[in-house]
Amino acid sequence: MIEVQGLTKSFGKVKAVQNVSFSAFDGQITGLLGPNGAGKSTTLRMLYTLLEPDSGFARIDGFDIRESPIEVQSRIGVLSDAQGLYPRLTVRENIRYFGRLHDLNGGQLEKQMDKLIVLLDMEAIADRKTEGFSTGERLKVAIARALIHDPRNVLLDEPTNGLDVKSTRAMRQFIRQLRDTGKCILLTSHIMQEVAALCDQIVIISNGVVSAQGSPAELLQRTGKNNLEDAFIEAIGSEEGLA
């Protein structure tokens, strides 16, 4: 459960995020849709505690992101824009490192790791060093290490960025599976079709401001359009920066 209330963040004169409020619920996929530079990633980075909001607050499972960052960090799994791995470590060693930082160890850690390796279909590469991995392979490792502690809340920043059609479909399927286990999933995207296909709740952001939010049906009703893409464009006021 993620609650965001009046979140605001500026970098110098640039107002990246202004007064953003929304809630993301367990067992649902919530999408932050907006053109490039709308403030989606900045919002997400505040939620995963790397940036501090200028004002407003956010709570994850009831823990305030500013007051209890460590509690928040142990309750979220994050796939950020930066997905660097350690090239001299094997896939298992990469994942194990993050698992140990989440206080997992021994059999519990290995079991959870094996589960993720099967789930993400990477048995073949599990004991290889990650040097020279393809984008898809790297992404799988990055997801596995983000989910090693089986977090209740999953934050994904543009999760299908740079993937081919087959991998994109597999990724979407994986996100749905996560949702079906009752997790609270918050993802960002600038791809209308993706948000339309995946999300139970949609928050539309442009220029750092939330311009509309609700379920797909609610958005259609509110904008008076008969398809989601038109509804998005109506809410944002422009097609620029979308796909």
Binding site: F11, R45, Y48, T49, L50, L51, E52, I70, E71, Q73, S74, I76, V78, S80, D81, A82, Q83, G84, L85, Y86, P87, R88, L89, E93, Y97, F98, R100, L101, H102, D103, A142, R145, A146
Partner: protein, 392 residues
């Protein structure tokens, strides 16, 4: 505490697998001892050659001065015939120095006048300086010897012409004379400590940012200070290894080479000395890792860090370089400067000078306090959000 260990272990394993960079580090650690050994061998062999060999001296017209020739031959000089053009031969470098005895020498000598001889030499040629000074002092010796004899014959005390007698009192013990050469040693030791830590620090800070793994790492539920401390400590074993290898290298060079034979003195680099140096240098390992960590954390890439760190390694080494030329007494203020105090103490150990325990304690404590301060600054740096939003 547990998290610090996890980060430490991961960084050590990761760095050990980067074997190219630590093997290069090993070579750097051996650089000082190898260079010092090379210089020692060169100095040693040239000093021995020059002193032990008899001097071959071409003389023009030796028949004009039989008693001078006899004197020279008694002093280990082999008199040879000179070429027809003495000045030409010296100019081209074929011969170092040639003695020319003019025709009038015998007459002047017999009549008690000042008899002139010419020494053909090239004062700009360094390699001929030993030959030159040797023959010059022999000629002066001959002149003084005969002059004294003549005064005695005339019933005058030779002291009349010695208005001032210069007596040199050389306070340099043989060992301290040799340390003029090995004053460079502290420089190499401090440099090795910094150099050993540099590749690991670079990889775990600037490298982490460059390969875009810093942001995912910092999202883990770990206090920022644990990241800083774990990464800092991961550099310690590599820095210590570099220090140990350099010291062992120096130990081998100074104990295997016949330094006593080369320089005429014994160098005090026993196992105990080396261990003492190792112990007083331990806080420098902390300092070198902390200061390099702070600087590398500002770098966006390993390449950028690679342009900063050699400077950092050089700055603390500068006092050591200065020590080679201007000996500094081990006063209290010098102990308050990290790396400077250690270098002075290393010098003391090698000179087998009396050594003050309180100085060592002051040096160790100030170095640790300053290193801890730098570490705190690094922790604050890592606690700011700029650490991740800095442009990659």
């Amino acid at each position: 505490m547990n998290k610090i260990r996890i980060i430490f272990e991961k960084e050590v394993v990761d760095s050990l697998r980067d074997y190219r960079s630590w093997v290069t580090g090993l070579f750097w650690a051996l650089f000082g001892p190898l260079m010092m050994g090379g210089i020692l061998i060169m100095i040693g062999s040239s000093i021995r050659e020059d002193i032990e060999k008899p001097l071959n001296l071409p003389v023009q017209n030796p028949e004009n001065a039989p008693s001078l020739i006899q004197f020279l031959e008694q002093h280990d000089v082999i008199v040879e015939p000179a070429p027809a053009d003495p000045e030409g031969a010296v100019k081209t470098g074929d011969l170092n120095v040639i003695l020319v005895i003019p025709e009038g020498y015998g007459d002047d000598f017999s009549s008690g006048k000042s008899a002139t001889v010419q020494l053909v030499l090239d004062s700009s040629r360094q390699s001929a300086s030993t030959d030159r000074t040797r023959i010059q002092s022999l000629l002066e010796g001959y002149s003084t010897y005969l002059g004294t004899l003549r005064l005695v014959v005339r019933g005058v005390s030779p002291e009349v012409i010695h208005v001032v007698t210069v007596e040199e009192v050389d306070v340099a013990t043989p060992q301290s004379r040799a340390t003029a050469l090995i004053s460079f040693l502290p420089y190499f030791i401090i440099f090795a400590i910094f150099n050993g830590a540099a590749p690991i620090i670079t990889d775990t800070t600037a490298g982490e940012r460059e390969r875009q793994s810093l942001e995912p790492l910092l999202i883990n539920p770990v206090p920022r200070r644990s990241f800083v401390l774990g990464k800092l400590m991961a550099a310690f074993p590599f820095s210590l290894a570099s220090l140990a290898i350099t010291l062992i290298g120096f130990g081998i060079v100074f104990n295997i080479l016949p330094v006593e034979e080369y320089l005429g003195v014994r160098i005090n680099l026993t196992v105990t000395t080396l261990l003492s140096i190792f112990l007083i240098c331990l806080p420098v390992v902390f300092l070198a890792s902390a200061i390099q960590m702070l600087v590398a954390s500002f770098a966006r890439s390993t390449k950028e860090a690679g342009t900063y760190l050699p400077f950092i390694a050089l700055i603390p080494s500068l006092p050591g370089l200065a020590l080679a030329f201007f000996p500094v007494k081990p006063e209290l203020w010098t102990m308050l400067i990290p790396t400077f105090g250690q270098q002075i103490m290393i010098n003391q150990f090698m000179r087998a000078e009396p050594f003050s325990v309180s100085n060592a304690l002051i040096s160790i404590i100030t170095t640790i306090i300053i290193s801890a301060g730098i570490t705190l600054v690094a922790i604050r740096l890592y606690s700011r959000e700029q650490i991740v939003i800095r442009k990659r």
